[in-house]
Symmetry: C2
Subunit: 473 residues, 2 copies
């Protein structure tokens, strides 16, 4: 296998010169060349060079380096140069690698990393740790950080409470712009590094308005906060799911939102940079789920990848056996006319593909809430129409081809009819299955495609072989 492998890699290498130029154009990603230089210095034992090169990287770039290094190199980098990586590097890492790398460190060292991070980043790092390590790490933290983390962990996973940071700027509504700016100058040390809005609160910490910095900075000192504040605020309950939070940010074009507890008191702030990651993750999840992968397993080891993908394939084996059972009902027919065996995967496959098209659009539209009760009937009828039109077109094509190929016009008619039936079925169920799954509270991206291909396989084989039994035998 190695020789064949090497040939394949040569093909890749030939294309590499072009690709390198392309990569050079994107200055925001750590280039392969750069990574190789660092790893070479590492292998040659030039520790000073390695430390200097790592120090020059941004946290995202340093995370790139760790992610793309082989497991041995990663180990080497960590045992020799752990200090060279900033705390932020670890929070930029893929969660699976985060867990893997932090579990190898002494809890006290992990605690030191966490203490250096903002409260939201610290929380998401702690989340990725295994229960045991998490406990001993939390034990090693200062009382205030510990308290904040434990409270953060008390919110449900993937909730606004986990996403928020506890640092924010809030002022009473009776202040003026001048007083606010004086306060910000005096309290400078205690403020978060970056913020985009100032929240206006009552003495009991209820949010009554917000002022974007770009609004306050151009106002005169004498202006009253009460007049300046925008009242169209979007307070987020701490228990709200992060996906809904992300949808709100995207729809309303806002940059930060106040998070409130069940008594409507301000307890934190969510900023758009955290939301960007959520949007990205959620869209990625839908795509991976549709393809039968739970989460990106790029950094998982072979065994753990194989076992996490096994479940989906196992379910698919069942549905494939179901389809095989349908075929076996028609063994007698196939024995008499073997052309049926040749053509039957075409009918089933085209149904699967057409259904997947309808499915992808429906799953995506449900996720963005563009598809809901009010227009679902219209969408279903439309998919039936689309299936009918394309079914008719492909019926003619496959019918003529099959008729000529096997010199059997009736076979052409039968496969054409089966194609129409299966493409209409595919269109309808491609939209119907995700709508129903969404309605009963299941994630449409996870299970839709199994149900769909089961449908299109069974209907495809049944229609084709059934019609053949009636009209050809």
């Amino acid at each position: 296998m190695t020789e064949d492998d090497d040939k394949l890699f040569d093909v890749l290498r030939q294309g590499a010169s072009e690709a390198d130029e392309q990569e050079e154009e994107n200055p925001f990603v750590l280039s392969d060349q750069h990574i190789e230089d660092i790893l070479e210095a590492l292998h040659s034992g030039y520790d000073d060079v390695v430390i200097q090169k790592i120090a020059d990287l941004s946290p995202a770039e340093a995370a790139d380096l760790l992610e793309k290094a082989s497991e041995e190199d990663r180990e080497l980098l960590l045992t020799r140069h752990a200090v060279a990586f900033s705390a932020e590097t670890y929070s930029e890492l893929d969660p699976h690698l985060q867990n893997q790398m932090l579990s190898k460190m002494p809890p006290r060292y992990v605690a030191a990393i966490i203490s250096e991070l903002d409260s939201d980043d610290a929380l998401s790092l702690v989340e990725s740790l295994d229960e045991d390590l998490r406990k001993s790490v939390i034990h090693n933290l200062s009382a205030s950080t510990r308290l904040a983390l434990v409270e953060g962990l008390s919110y449900p996973e993937y909730s606004a409470g986990r996403l928020m940071q506890r640092e924010f700027v809030a002022i009473p509504q009776f202040w003026t712009v001048g007083k606010t700016i004086d306060y910000l100058r005096a309290a400078s040390e205690d403020l978060p590094d970056y913020f985009y809005d100032i929240f206006v609160i009552t003495p009991t910490y209820r949010v009554v308005g917000e002022i974007p910095l770009s609004r306050i900075i151009r106002a005169r000192r004498s202006e009253k906060i009460d007049h300046l504040k925008l009242e169209d605020i979007h307070p987020v309950p701490a228990t709200m799911n992060q996906e809904e939070v992300a949808q709100m940010f995207r729809r309303e074009d806002i940059t930060s939102a106040p998070v409130v507890d069940e008594e409507d008191r301000l307890i934190g702030m969510i900023t758009i940079d955290d939301v960007v990651d959520v949007i990205d993750e959620e869209a990625q999840e839908d795509m991976l789920h549709l393809s039968g992968v739970g989460e990106s397993d790029l950094y998982h080891a072979v065994i753990s990848t194989a076992s996490s993908r096994f479940r989906w394939l196992f379910i698919n084996l069942f549905t494939a056996m179901l389809a095989a059972t349908v075929i076996s009902l028609f063994s007698g027919t196939i024995e008499k006319l073997v052309a049926l065996a040749v053509l039957m995967p075409v009918v089933a496959g085209m149904g699967g593909n057409a259904g997947t098209q309808a499915l992808a659009v429906a799953v995506r539209s449900l996720a963005t809430n563009e598809l809901s009760r009010v227009n679902e009937r219209r969408v279903l009828l439309k998919e039936v129409g689309v299936g009918a039109i394309n079914g008719l077109l492909f019926a003619v094509m496959i019918g003529v081809t099959a008729g000529l190929w096997f010199q059997n016009p009736m076979l052409g008619c039968v496969i054409g009819a089966a194609m129409i039936i299966n493409l209409i079925t595919a269109g309808f169920f491609g939209a119907f299955i995700p709508i129903v799954l969404d309605r009963i509270g299941a994630d449409p991206a996870v299970a839709s495609s199994v149900f769909l291909t089961t449908m299109t396989d069974i209907v495809g084989f049944f229609a084709f072989l059934g019609l053949a039994t009636i009209f050809l035998i």
Copy 2:
């Protein structure tokens, strides 16, 4: 069909009561009930009510209403109540509907809408118009808006130049904080509504630094801009692809970036709210492309949906016929042992599913640049390993099942061996195909799955039927 349809809809309706409660929980999406209320008022001719209700909606909600209304209702809303919708509503609409609705309006009216929008929103609205209408709309604009739009259109599609807004705040580096704030107060009318960073420039408009508002607002009036500015800026060339821009924003956690022309002069600004939409679109595109859909066609009519999906299905018909040809080579074998026809879709199908898992992870990792030359060899070898492990497990399962079902142990061995071969093939090509497509500059999400299922079908049928011919006949 209607009766069956109605039964299916009854199933949906039964679940609806629960779902309504769920919807109530998400206050950021226009509820179905709300939409139905407005449409009912529209049908009953209560124009005052309709106008009032539309006026109460945010632009994103008004766009929801137009998107979810049927074509006739949409027409009715526009002919009777066009004035009730704000200009921003149109820029929130799905691009396809944007085009459809604006094409029906007089160019002068479209020009009036565009004049009210920010430069970036105006540009993206003009982009969606057909060539002819675009010309006459631009003709109806004021000279300054026209000039800005024509220059914007001169940048390539999906580039930073199209994404940016021309309104930004830039100051010379020799100013102080006090002078800057005085300037912002005096120039308040001419500034963009929202901005998060102030760019620091030389007299020739070269960007030398930037200052987040949260940094300047807490600084003392006497502080020098030159000392306060951050030099770690991320100037974006106007021709850079929007996907790279989005990746940079996501990686570096920034909220705005200066856009520069080929002479490095500041010409615009990109803010994170525009980038959020790009991230969302790009992730959505990958998912739809993988499923054989070019773009979300939820709002397309039946005919246009059918024709846009036709191309992908047509390609799939070809590859399915290729697989059929492989089967036909073994007609003689199948005639002698019809169990082969029953089992062969299982082998091909499992390969397709396992390959799709590897494919989805690879496509996604290529998009986020987590997979590149430096680790591609490792990823390929890993996928081969995963294929071998799962291949072995499923070989045992299907082998035993098939052997018992058809009382033929040798048949069990043959299908087991074919399963191993096909799952290894699937794993390897699932990663290899997108890597190669990416290398030669093609979009891996678009064509990967056709190539993959062709491979897994052909290898699956060939291995199973070939081994059967050798060992069973």
